[in-house]
Structures are given as C-alpha cells and as structure tokens.
C-alpha cells in the first residue's frame, strides 16, 4: 500500500514537472464553462491492445472563450495509456476532415481520487456558445486481465476488461453512449448498467443522459479473446548508417506471451492433431512489415539460425513472416534477432541547410504487438557531428559512443528510449547530423597505410643484415 502511495507521489511530481514544462501561461478557463453535448465512445477489445475512439461534441457555455479541453482518466487507465491522439473534425458525415491537435498530460491540483488529465489544445479558441467536435483515439495496453489466470492446453483464454459505463469527464455530459466490440460473441458476463444491451459481438451501454462531472460506474466484461497476446518485453533496434550506401537494421527481441499462463501438460499430439481445439490462445506466427527493397534479411537467436521464416516482398512493402522456434503458449518466452539491410537513398536525405537527416519509422515492425521497453539506437557514421533527434512524441534521449570495424574515434550513437509502445507509434522520426564525406575514406586510407608500412618494413628487413657476426 505504501509503495503504491509512493508510486503515486512520484507520478504526481512527474506530472507537475511536466505541467511546469508545458507553457501554461494562459489562464485556464474554469471547468463549468464547457459542457459536452454529445459523447460517443467505441471501445475495441478484439486484440490485446484496447483502442478507444471517443467523439466529443464540446460546447462553450461560459462567458470567456476557451482554448483547451480536458480529458479525464482513472489512474489505473492512465497508467496503461500508450498513445493518445486528438483531432479536430470539420465537415459533415461524408466529407469529414481531421486536423490533429496538440495533446499534453496535465495535472490539476484538486483532482478527485487521483484522476489524471490530458489537455487538448484547440486550434482556435472556442468562443461563447460555439461548439466543436473532437475525436480522440487512445490505446491501452495490458488492460485485458486473463481470468482464469492459468489455463491448460485445451481451454480457451478468457479475459476481463474493466472500465466505466459512464465516460469519466471533467465536464457535464448531456448525452453519451458506449459501444464495446468483442472478438467473438462468446461473452461470459458483463456488468449491466441499464440501459445495456448485447448484440453479437457488440455490447452497448447507454444512452445515458445528463450526467454530472466525475460520474463513474465501473463495469467488468468477461469474454473470450484468443488473439495472440504478443508482448515484446524488450526491444533494441539498432539502425546503422553507412555512407557507402547501406542502412543496417538489427532488432533484438524478447518476446513473451502476455495472456493466461499455460498450465501443466503440453501435448504435441493434441497440438498438431486438433489445431482448432487445442492451444487456441497460443501463436506461432508473427508478421513483421518491413520497408520495401529490403535485402539480406536474417532471423536468428543466441544458438543459431531459426529456419522458419518467409519473406514476401513487392514494390510497396516487404512482409516477413517469422515463426519462433516453438509455439508460444501463455507465459512462454522467446528471444530472437532480426536483421536486414536497406538502400540508404530511401531513408537518408540532405536538408536545406546542408545537414543530413535520417527518416525512419520508430516503433516495432511486428504487427499488433506491445513493446514494454523500446530502445532505438541510431549509429551515425564515424566523424558525424551535432546529432539531434526529432520525434513527435516524448522520448528519453541520450548519446553514446560505439566502436565498430576499425573505428578509431568511435561512432556517435543517438539513443532513444520509450516505454509502452504500440503500433500507433510506427511513425517516422528524424535524426539530423553533420557529416563530411572525407571521413568515408578514413578507413580505406588507414588500411592502405598499414599495408604499405608492412611492405616497407619487410623490404627493409630483407635488405638489412642484422646478424651480429660478420661472415
């Protein structure tokens, strides 16, 4: 309990520091000035990454104009939010267009029950009486709790999803409804908060009307989810730039099955004989989407090549289907390494001011995986200067030096670290640096010199008489 409190304390301090960092010099409009006219929430729990689409129609009822909208989350949920995006919607149903909005985690001094907030900054301040539609997408990881915690080979995997039937909000909500999509129509149970209804794979809560701020009504949904719970506990991606024309990527994975733990016997007879009924929640394939024109792909682990993988590549994309050495059941782990080369001209460009920059995607290339701990290392060529990274979401950054083939001064490595990464983070980031092409010749020249000296010394040795006694 104390630990929990301490954790929360740290979290608070972090949040406060974040708040102070973000320039919140503008006077915050008071909460009562805004109200949500219509809210619709669609929760997708078909895979192990929970995606929530939230459509809010916000109206300013206050006197002054408002430029920010607060989104509220329970602390449990806030902990698992991997990604949150907001967009401003214009146009009617068919001609909708989205304008991305800036979002920042925020902290309020008097938040009830440790509620966490995100602030959405509107493009134009909302003047009195106006309304605006915002669409919010956020992804939650590790939010599906397997129950029973341990299952045997023949059992399906059942999970709990905890949420509230009512949208937790800082504002008064006039009208709201929530839809939850389950992977199949096998739903063991769900908390009823009338009006609630289930049709096929969709659960519907609401519509509820006129709910005051911070209304909360916890619900639990217990359903079957046999989708692969592929969790990469640790991923290190190394991107090595060689100005001779190659971009070498090496990815070290620590993969785990994050679902209900496997219990007791693993029978190969049953697994191979009845593929449908046995080991339903296990998985043996993963699909990695690699950039086009990929070459020299390898897939191995600490004890050698893993011989089960297929590469399909066309002009637009390459797909690498990888199979771990053994099927992964709940709680089983595997480690492996994927490496591939890419043509440099697809990813390295020169900016207007003469600096070079690498434009590469950030996240994990394997589809539908959660990465708990992602480290991206961009190894710049020897002799590069002034590196700077540009990432569109907060990451931890630092610099390292690594030594590779015949390096003397070492290569600068830009290290980017991020926790809780979902496929939504697969967006390009940039690393800018200065590089003089002369450095490309450093190593060949060095080798030439060494061999030249070698020949010179052997020449000298052969022409010298170093015996002590003269014959």
């Amino acid at each position: 309990m104390e630990v929990g409190v301490a954790k929360h304390g740290i979290y608070l301090i972090l949040l406060i520091s974040l708040v102070t960092l973000s320039n919140l010099s503008t006077v915050r409009s008071s909460s009562s000035d805004l109200q949500i006219v219509d809210a619709e929430r669609r929760i997708d729990v078909t895979s192990h990454i929970v995606r929530v689409y939230l459509t809010l129609k916000v109206e300013n009822t206050g006197k002054s104009s408002a430029s920010e909208v607060l989104l509220a989350f329970s602390p449990e949920q806030a902990k698992n939010i991997a990604n949150l995006q907001a967009a401003f919607v214009t146009g009617k149903k068919k001609k909708k267009s989205y304008l991305p909005l800036k979002v920042n985690p925020t902290d309020l001094p008097d938040s009830p029950n440790g509620t966490k907030y995100f602030t959405v900054y509107l493009l134009n301040p909302l003047s009195t009486g106006e309304s605006v539609t915002i669409e919010v997408l956020y992804t939650l990881t590790h939010s599906l709790q397997p129950f029973p915690v341990e299952i045997s080979q023949s059992e399906p995997q059942l999970v709990y999803y905890h949420d509230s039937a009512l949208i937790l909000s800082h504002y008064y909500i006039k009208k709201q409804k929530t839809m939850i999509r389950t992977p199949s129509n096998k739903v063991e149970s769900f908390t009823r908060v009338e009006p609630a209804d289930r049709k096929g794979t969709e659960l519907k809560y609401g519509p509820y009307e006129d709910r005051s701020p911070y209304s909360y009504s916890p619900v639990i949904i217990h359903f079957e989810n046999n989708n692969p719970f592929a969790v990469v506990e640790e991923l290190v991606r190394e991107v090595e730039i060689s100005h001779w024309g190659n971009l070498q990527i090496t990815e070290h994975y620590k993969l785990a099955h994050g679902g209900a733990r496997h219990k007791g016997v693993f029978s190969r007879v049953e697994y191979q004989g009845r593929p449908s009924g046995s080991g339903a929640s296990s998985f043996k394939h993963l699909l990695a989407k690699l950039p086009p024109r990929v070459h020299s792909v390898y897939y191995r682990d600490g004890i050698g090549n893993i011989s089960s993988s297929h590469l399909r590549s066309d002009l637009r994309k390459s797909e690498l289907e990888i199979e771990p050495r053994y099927p992964l059941f709940g709680g089983w782990k595997a480690t492996f390494t994927i490496g591939y080369g890419l043509p440099l001209q697809d990813f390295l460009f020169e900016s207007d001011d003469g600096r070079r920059y690498l434009n590469f995607s950030f996240g994990c290339p394997i589809a539908e995986t959660v990465v708990d701990d992602l480290t991206v290392k961009v190894v710049l060529p020897e002799g590069s200067k002034n590196p700077s990274a540009l990432v569109s979401f907060p990451v931890e950054q630092n610099l390292e030096t690594s030594y590779s083939y015949l390096d003397v001064v070492g290569r600068t490595v830009v290290v980017l670290k991020k926790k809780n990464v979902v496929p939504e983070h697969n967006i390009p980031f940039q690393v800018y640096y200065n590089f003089h092409p002369m450095f490309m010749l450093a190593e060949p020249l060095m080798l030439t010199t060494v061999f030249f000296l070698l020949f010179l010394t052997s020449l000298a040795y052969l022409h010298m008489d170093i015996s002590i006694r003269k014959s």
Binding site: V269, G273, G304, R325, G331, S467, S471
Partner: protein
C-alpha cells in the same frame, strides 16, 4: 649466376603464392558447412569448448583457471580449469581479443566457428615445411596441397567443428617440423622452439602423448642404427627437459608429465642418449684398447644399475591398478581392453576400430601412394626421412585401433603421398625432357643447375648426411644459409657425373606421358572425392538435420527448438537429466544444469542415470528425485526416422548402469539375445522409463499403429499412462521430448504398497528416495 638467382627469386615467389593458394584452399573447402547450413557450432564437444571460450572472454584468464562449473555433473560439479585442455580455448580467446582490440566486433561464436579452418591452413603450411625438410620444396608443396583437402582432417575441422583436434593437428605437424628442422640443422634455437610447439600441443590435445612417444622412438632408432649425432642430441634432449617442464605447467597434465607410463619412454631414451653420448665422448678421448676395457666395465656396472631401476619402475607401475596407463591409452595398446572393461569408452562410436571402407573414405588415393612414398623415403634414408617412416608406421597402427586416430594418420599419409607424387613427377618429367627432341639439345648445358628442385635437394641431403660427422659450428643465419646453398650447388656440379648416370635410367617417352596423365587423373579423382566429402559427408552440423523431399529442402531443427524452450521457459536452476550425449549441448544451449555430460569422468554417475532410464517409472522417479532432477529429456527418432536416438543407445545405458548397479541385467532387455521393442519385447523393456518416455502417446500420431520408422516395426506396448512424469514439451518432429517429474503426493502411502515398491527398486538409491518422501519412518 645472375640468371640462377633470378630463377631462385622467381621460384620462391611462385612457391609463396602456391602456399597462399593452398592456405586459401584449406580454408575455403571447409566452408561448405557454413554455406550449406549456417555459421553454427557443430555436434557435442564443440559446444562445450564454445561455452568455455565464452566464459574465458567474459571473465578473463584467472577466473578461467579457477572455474568450478556447478551447472554440470550435479551435484558434484566439475573443475573446468583443471580438467580441460586449454589450448583451443586460449587460442580462440586470444583471436577474439585481438580482433576486438582492433575494433572488429566479431562475436565469440564467429571466431570459434572459423578457428578450425584457419588452423587447417596453418597445418597445410606446417606440412609444407616438414616435407620440405624431408624431401625438398616440390614434395612439400604436394604434401601441403594434399593435406589441405584430406577428408579425414576435414571431418574434424570444418567451419563450426570447434574441437581440440582442429588446432592440435597443426601443433602436431609443427612440432614434428621443428624436430626435423633441429635434426637437420642442429640449432638450439629450433630446439627451443620445438619445446614451445610441444607445449602448445600439450595445451591442445591429449594426443600429445603420441609425440612424446614417437620422438623417443625415433631417437632410439637413430641410436640403434648407429646414426647418433650431436644434432640428434640437440633435437632430443632440450625437448624432453623443456617440454616436460612446460607440460607440467598445464593443469590437466600437471604431475602426470612425470608420473604416468605414457611419458616413461621419453625418460628412458633420455638416459640412453646420454649414455651413448658419453660413450662417443669417451671413445674420442681414449685409445681403442682402453675403450674396450672401459666398455666392459661400464656395461657390467650399468647392467646392475639398470636392473635396479627397472625393478623399481616395475614395482611402481604394478602398484597402480591400470598399470599407470589411462583407459584410453590402454585401449590403444590392447584394442579389446575397452570393450572388456570400460563400456563408456566402448560406447563412443569414434573409439571403435575403423572399417576398410572408412580408410578409403578418409584418405582415399593416399592409401595407394603411401607405399611409394615409403620407398622414396629410403632413397636415400636420412634422419628426417626415417622419422617420417616411423611416423607413418605408428600412425597406421593407431588408426587401426580407433577411428578417431585416423586423424593422426592423415598428415603422415599426406606427407608420404606428397613425396611419392613429387618423386614420380620428377622421374617422369625428367624422362620426357631427355627424350624430347627440342630440349634434348640443350640438356647438357642445363643439366647442372636446372635440375628440378626435389632431386637437387636429394643431393643436398646426401651431402648433409656426409657432413653429419662434422660438428656444425656455424650459426646458420640467413646469409650463411644462402651461401651454404650456393656451396651445395657448387658441390653438386662436380658430382654431375653421378647425375648423368642417374639420368640414363630414364623411362620410355610414351610410358612417361601415359603415367603422367594417370597421375594427374589420380590427383583429379582425389580432388573430386575431397570436395564431395567436404560438401556432402562431413559438413552437417548434426544439431540441425535436413532432408531432400520432392517439395524441397526440409529442415529438422528440433534440438535447438527443445534447448531454446528449456532455456526460456524453465527456471534457471532447474536440473535436466538426459543421457550424457546431450549434456554439453544442454549446458551450452539451454544453460541448464545437467546430471552427466560428454566428459564422462564419473562412471558411477552415468551409471545412475543409465539405471534410472532402464528402471520402471517409479524407481526411476525416485532416482531422479534424489538427484533434484526436474526435467527429463529424451531423444526419439521414431516419428521421422532419426536413427541415433536414445532407444538405439539404450543398450549402452543398460550395460553401463548394470556395470555399477547389478540389479540391472542386460538379458532382461533382450528377447533371445535380440534387442527389440515390438510385441515380442520383454516386459522389462516395455516397462522401463526410456521406452515409456519415448513412446508416450506415440500411437496417436498414425492412427493406432504406432509404427517406429527407425526400428521399422510396430511398437510393443501402445497405450499406457505415465503416473510420475508429465509431458511438458515435445518438439515439432518429436525428436526431443521433455518430461517433468510430478511432485510427490502429500499423503503417506500404505504399508503394503511401500513394501511392494521396495522389492522392485534398487536398494541404496531407493532408500534415499523413500527417506526424502517419507521423513517419519
């Protein structure tokens, strides 16, 4: 003179490039395994060496010497630093360290994989030098080229075969080269190098005892045949003194270097050579008459002393049970020893005597060239050539005892064949040259200095043997040597008469041409065979198997599947029991503690595992539980037809287990002397743990038949349940099956059941098992 020196320079450069190409050939012919399979460590022992190298590179040399490995031979453990030949590990570790300090970030695995091919190139070069010392450059080049691709050596040194032999063969040949070089030059410098090379060999392989017996034998041969010289003394004595001192520094050898019988020959000859040297010395300073008197005196006294010494030695040797010889050495002297007394040594396939086809497979046409080479070595017989003859004769004997020692034969066969080929080519080309009309006009002028190098060297050798009695006083520096060579040439000019006499013994032109063609054809056949052997026969890593099916290549990667599963999904301190073959791989690939491994130093421990495997389920459970075992791993080939599985090795388990625990009797597992697993099999067989773990639920794979593809029969007992074990993992092709010991039941069993179990299981092991389970009684 200008012309000839240019010719020399050209010859040297040509020779250098040929050697370079030979090295390249030796390296690249061993890369088939990497190209066809992958860059991976092969088989069993290399995995241990790889693991040790990893430890060395991670923790440094001092931790390596003090390493007590608690992940093997549980609960005994093993002192790695003191029981391993460190040469290979240190070599690869040093290579890795150098590369890394040059910022070439190769992994330890890569360095280990390519160590063997690199050292094969070195071995080819060492062969060149050795043969050059014996019969000249031409023979040297031929021998080096043959050795670069001899299948026998390839089988132990393909890329990935990271085993002691890979570097040891280089060390062996290089030691021999330095010995012969010292014999030829009498230089103390080479004698010291020789001792150091011997030290490297001792570090690398237990086969060093071959050197320390062969060289004394040669020294003795020289003395007996009256070829004693100061060169022999310089070649022999520093090697014994320095070599023994250095050998004693290697922890695994230690005092064995002076205590075991394997080394006695060298000391005996050491004494003899001193006696002989003394005799020669005294002979020099005394008049012949006085010398005769002295001889009778010394012989009578010496005999008495010798008898005393021999008596003491015999008493010492006889007091030890194995007569001071290790089991493996004994089985060399008496080929039937192992099969009679030590089933563990006999159970290893590479310790079996080879069959005739395996000679053809491993040294191919060399087998036919060797006799010719021996003949060539007698024309004329020098110290060096007598050494090579002795080497081939002894190695032929040893290779006949153990398949594994074919490896020692291979370099000798290559040297002999190189000499034979070179001599044959010399004879034939000379015949052609003399009879070819275009050249015959100028042959008189050329005769002096354009004789092909080998024959020139023969003369050089003759000259040397003439000079042998003169003490070599000059330090042979590079300059001097050149002069010496020129001198040799000068001296060879006067002997032109004898040469022309030789020239007259030419063969007819047609015969020569046909023979040359046949020789080239023979060589081509050898090359084709070697490439085939390297590509098809010897490059499989044995941890990953492939088969060609109509649908394409099918890969069986079950071993690594199982090891990867163990390493990721079991607790880090869990103990895994399996037959000892898989011990090294389990510790290296799965990083789990094993009960027994390929080191086989403790027969009782292996017998315990063998007993457990051949016991009924409950007794086996008790044995395994007493050893803290949590998982049992068996290898089963019945589904895909993989013949070297545990069922086929099972009789050895019974034999080894029965050797220590007499209640396991081999006849119980045999029906009328036949080993079978079908419905005719004995109940003991059908109820033993190995049978049950192998065939558990096997019958469900092919719809109730249970057809074993290795034994080509339906299994005897098809439906049964396991009560004390549960299947936790089986690989894709069923080749590895892993079972977990069920935890013991909580309740105390009733007395009747207990007495029943007592009667069915072994006494002392069972006692510990019951004590564990039932602490109240």
């Amino acid at each position: 003179m200008e012309d000839s020196s240019l010719r020399y320079a050209f010859g040297n450069v040509l020779c250098f490039f040929i050697l370079l190409l030979i090295g390249l050939l030796a390296f690249s012919i061993r890369l088939f395994s990497v190209i066809k399979y992958e860059s991976v460590i092969h088989e069993f022992d290399p995995y241990f060496n790889y693991r040790v190298t990893q430890f060395l590179t991670k923790n440094g040399i001092y931790d390596f010497w003090n390493w007590f490995d608690d992940r093997t031979w549980y609960p005994l453990g093993r002192v790695i630093g003191g029981t391993v030949y460190p040469g290979l590990t240190l070599t690869a570790g040093t290579l890795w360290w150098i590369l890394n300090s040059l910022n070439i970030p190769l992994s330890v695995e890569t360095v280990c994989v390519f160590t063997a091919p690199i050292f094969s190139a070195f071995a080819a070069w060492a062969t060149y030098y050795l043969t050059k010392e014996v019969k000249g450059t031409g023979a040297g080049l031929a021998a080096a080229a043959l050795l670069a691709m001899v299948p026998s050596y390839i089988s132990r040194s393909v890329a990935g075969s990271y085993d002691n032999e890979a570097v040891a063969i280089f060390a062996l040949i290089f030691t021999f080269y330095l010995y012969v070089k010292t014999l030829n030059t009498g230089s103390l410098f080479y004698a010291t190098l020789n001792a150091i090379a011997y030290f490297y060999m001792v570090c690398s392989w237990g086969g060093y005892t071959f050197i320390i017996n062969l060289i004394p034998m040669h020294a003795l041969l020289c003395i007996v045949t009256g070829r004693y010289s100061s060169q022999l003394y310089i070649a022999y004595c520093p090697l014994v003194v320095l070599g023994t001192l250095l050998a004693a520094l290697v922890p695994v050898v230690g005092f064995n270097a002076v205590l075991t019988s394997e080394h006695f020959a060298s000391f005996l000859v050491f004494i003899i050579i001193h006696v002989v040297a003394l005799a020669y010395y005294i002979k020099g300073i005394l008049s012949p008459k006085m010398f005769k008197v002295a001889v009778t005196l010394v012989v009578s006294v010496g005999l008495v002393v010798c008898c005393a010494v021999v008596a003491v030695l015999v008493a010492l040797v006889a007091s030890s049970p194995t007569k001071g010889w290790s089991g493996r050495s004994l089985s060399l002297l008496d080929p039937t020893y192992a099969s009679k007394y030590i089933p563990i040594i006999a159970s290893v396939s590479e310790h079996q005597p080879p069959t005739w086809p395996s000679y053809f497979m491993d040294i191919n046409v060399l087998a036919f060239l060797v006799p010719a080479g021996i003949v060539a070595c007698f024309l004329p017989l020098s110290d060096a050539s007598s050494f090579v003859i002795l080497y081939i004769v002894t190695s032929v004997y040893f290779s006949g005892v153990m398949v594994r020692l074919m490896l020692v034969l291979a370099p000798a066969a290559c040297i002999m064949s190189g000499i034979a080929l070179s001599e044959a080519f010399t004879v034939f080309t000379r015949s052609i040259k003399f009879q070819f009309p275009g050249i015959s006009q100028s042959h008189q002028i050329d005769a002096g200095d354009t004789s092909s190098e080998p024959s020139g060297d023969v003369i050089q050798n003759v000259v040397k043997t003439d000079k042998i009695d003169e003490p070599v006083k000059e330090w042979p520096s590079r300059r001097n040597k050149k002069k010496e060579k020129e001198n040799v040439e000068k001296t060879s000019k006067p002997s032109i008469k004898s040469k022309i006499e030789k020239r007259l013994m030419v063969l007819p032109l047609e015969t020569s041409i046909i023979s040359l063609c046949l020789l080239v054809l023979l060589g081509a056949f050898y090359v084709i065979h070697c490439v085939w052997a390297a590509a098809e026969a010897y490059s499989a890593p044995s941890i990953v198997l492939t088969s060609h099916t109509p649908g394409g290549l099918h890969v069986f990667d079950d071993f690594r599947e199982a090891y990867a599963w163990l390493s990721h999904n079991t607790d880090v301190d869990d103990k895994v029991a399996s037959w000892w073959d898989y011990g090294y791989q389990t510790t290296a690939m799965a990083n789990r503690t094993v009960i027994v491994d390929n080191n086989t130093w403790n027969n009782t421990h292996i017998a315990t595992v063998g007993t457990a495997m051949s016991s009924p389920e409950k007794a086996a459970w008790e044995i395994f539980n007493s050893l803290d075992v949590k998982y049992v791993l068996v290898v089963f080939g019945g589904l895909v037809g993989y013949p070297s599985d545990d069922i086929n090795k099972f009789l050895w388990m019974v034999r080894i287990g029965g050797g220590v625990f007499p209640h396991i009797k081999e006849p119980d597992y045999l029906r009328d002397g036949q080993y079978r697993i079908d419905s005719e099999a004995t109940p003991t067989m059908l109820n033993c743990l190995m049978y049950k773990l192998s065939y558990y639920r096997f019958v469900e794979t092919d719809g109730g038949k249970g057809f074993d593809r290795v034994r080509r029969t339906e299994i005897g007992k098809k439906y049964f349940k396991l009560t004390h074990f549960e299947e936790v993992f089986t690989t894709h092709h069923w080749m590895v099956r892993i079972y977990k010991l069920k935890s013991p039941r909580n309740r105390i069993r009733s007395k009747t059941k207990k007495s029943k179990s007592k009667s069915s299981s072994s006494t002392n092991l069972k006692r510990s098992g019951t004590r564990k389970k039932n602490p109240w009684h």
